[in-house]
């Protein structure tokens, strides 16, 4: 019933009859965010504030993620969220254990993960990792091991387990530090510390960071809802690219008000993430696009290097039809 109403709402919107508001009974879509409620989820905050969700008949709620959340796929599998944001690898691993998740959109076209180093001991290539002390968050050594394997190098480096603060790098406790280019390099730049970043893509590790996924059952039953949801988010991202300060203000004062976020840091982060979310694929197919050919090629090659065998056919895990339908508006 609700689905049909939403479909009609979408159809009327598609016909350009903008004066006809969608049905009042909005469908709730709960997103389990990958991270805390900061500007990284700019589209959610803008779509909510500017009424893009409402216009699509969506009542959106968000659950905060962050480093203490054990498993985002588990939250979605348990039905506590409709949509989750996770690493591409996590969805592969979950499906290998019997889940049936489908990825229907993605946030980043370029992986923000990178190795951050200081000019004294620069890390620009995988070869530079050899013999160095690499500061990694707990569990992240698997990425560096894979980078070495992809570059046909031995995994001879010293792992230093650190947190999300780049202080160990500056203090000399490690030679390189696993960072997000949208975060720690900006912190160091603000303190006038010159630094070098080598992105995961440059180092040979190709993945999709922050994919949107749901169970196949949810996708089948709520296809129309997801199309509306994605369309609202695409509008949110488009608006975010036009005015990077808006979502930063919303994150610091409304949605993540209790987190004590710094407005300038959030603006900086947002400005840094916007180009990573765009590229030739999004210009050709629209925002949040995920390219099945890229998955089948470089991403699957990377996953094989991490020891993941028996990868599913790409069509089994990536569904671009939601994005295609969202783009038809």
């Amino acid at each position: 019933m609700i689905d049909r109403r939403l479909f009609l709402a979408g159809a009327t919107a598609a016909l350009g009859t903008a004066t006809l508001r969608p049905a009042r009974a909005a469908t709730t879509v709960t997103t389990q965010l990958q991270w805390i409620k900061d500007v990284q989820n700019a589209a959610w905050w803008i779509a909510d504030t500017n009424g893009y969700f409402r216009a699509e008949g969506i009542e959106a709620t968000e659950l905060a993620g962050g480093p203490t959340l054990a498993s985002i796929p588990a939250v979605v599998a348990a039905g506590r969220a409709d949509v989750g944001i996770a690493q591409f690898e996590q969805i592969i691993d979950a499906n290998a254990q019997g889940e049936d998740f489908v990825i229907f959109a993605v946030l980043y076209q370029t992986d923000p993960a990178a190795l951050l180093s200081l000019p004294a001991h620069p890390v620009r290539t995988a070869r530079d990792i050899l013999g160095k002390r690499i500061g990694l968050q707990q569990g992240a050594h698997v990425f560096i091991d894979a980078i070495m394997k992809l570059n046909h190098l031995p995994a001879t480096y010293t792992e230093v387990v650190v947190g999300f603060d780049p202080a160990p790098l500056v203090e000399g406790a490690c030679d390189a530090y696993l960072c997000f280019v949208t975060n720690q390099p900006l912190t160091l730049a603000a303190r006038h510390v010159p630094c070098i970043t080598a992105g995961f893509d440059e180092l040979g590790y190709h993945t999709y960071t922050d994919v949107l996924f749901c169970t196949r059952e949810y996708l089948t039953k709520n296809r129309a809802t997801l199309v509306h949801f994605v369309r609202a988010l695409q509008r949110g991202w488009a608006e975010n690219a036009r005015d990077p300060a808006l979502a930063a203000r919303l994150a610091t004062t409304v949605y993540g008000a209790s987190l004590g976020l710094d407005l300038q840091q959030q603006i900086g982060l947002n400005r840094a993430q916007i180009p990573l979310m765009e590229g030739p694929p999004t210009r050709a197919h629209g925002r949040m696009w995920i390219d099945p050919a890229h998955v089948a090629g470089p991403v699957y090659a990377t996953l094989r290097a991490t020891g993941r065998i028996n990868l599913p056919p790409v069509g089994r895990i990536v569904d671009t039809s939601i994005l295609i339908d969202a783009g038809r508006a």
Partner: protein
């Protein structure tokens, strides 16, 4: 004479609540169709341990090593500082507050500070484990050193004993029961402490295994690591209790 059947019955008698819990867990998983990524069935967890015995044994050994080192250093430090406070009132003011402060600060917040002082490595993992086991010993031994047998202090006064003689012959023996309580409290805790420290900054042990399993969404492995850690904690508690029973025979 106790027969094998009698022993088994005795074991069942003591462990039936745990077995009931396991059965309820298995039933819940099957009945509610809980996917393994959310919560694995107990059988799946046991199979995970049984099929990778080397992995869990190596991790458990590393964790036991950290826990033992943390327990040993923590208790030694606790006893030494308790004695320092017993000896000079100045130490009492200087040490009690920082000790309480250190204990009431979450380990997660303490770790960056410890790491900055000691570096990011095994020593910091042990220091973190030490930080958790230190306080029970410090507090209990501190009060134990003052809980002297009635009139015993008077005897030492009459005989004009030195401070050292009082410490070695009166206060320390009087504090042995407190030390044994501290040991019993800290033994199981030291496993937890080692696990926490490994989980946060370790490159080895059950805590690390748990963290890695989480990163790779291997829920059965994460739960299996937790299971092994639970068994270790219970074993540590049992061993400490045994030790306490033996130790009590030698105390005043």
């Amino acid at each position: 004479m106790r027969t094998a059947a009698g022993r088994a019955a005795g074991l069942l008698d003591r462990s039936w609540p745990v077995l009931l819990l396991l059965a309820a867990w298995e039933v819940w998983i099957v009945a509610a169709h809980v996917p393994p990524i959310v919560a694995p069935a107990p059988a799946l967890v046991v199979i995970e341990v049984a099929t990778n015995p080397g992995l869990y044994a190596a991790a458990a050994c590393a964790t036991i090593g950290v826990a033992l080192a943390g327990l040993l250093i923590g208790m030694t430090l606790g006893i030494a500082l308790a004695i320092a406070i017993w000896a000079t009132p100045f130490a009492a003011g200087a040490l009690t507050f920082p000790a309480l402060l250190a204990q009431s600060t979450p380990l997660v917040a303490l770790l960056p500070v410890i790491a900055r002082l000691l570096g990011y490595g095994e020593q910091t993992v042990i220091a973190a484990a030490t930080a958790i086991t230190f306080l029970p010993t410090f507090v209990l031994v501190g009060s134990g050193l003052r809980a002297l047998p009635a009139n015993a202090a008077d005897v030492f006064d009459v005989l004009g004993s030195s401070r050292l003689a009082r410490l070695v012959r009166l206060a320390l023996p009087a504090a042995v029961p407190s030390m044994l309580i501290a040991l019993r409290l800290s033994a199981a805790n030291s496993i937890l402490a080692a696990l926490t420290a490994e989980y946060l900054i370790g490159t080895f042990g059950l805590g690390r295994l748990f963290a890695d399993a989480q990163t790779q969404s291997l829920t059965p492995r994460a739960w299996a690591a937790a299971l092994v850690a639970t068994v270790l904690s219970v074993a540590a508690y049992a061993a400490a209790r045994r030790l306490a029973v033996i130790g009590e025979r030698f105390s005043l």
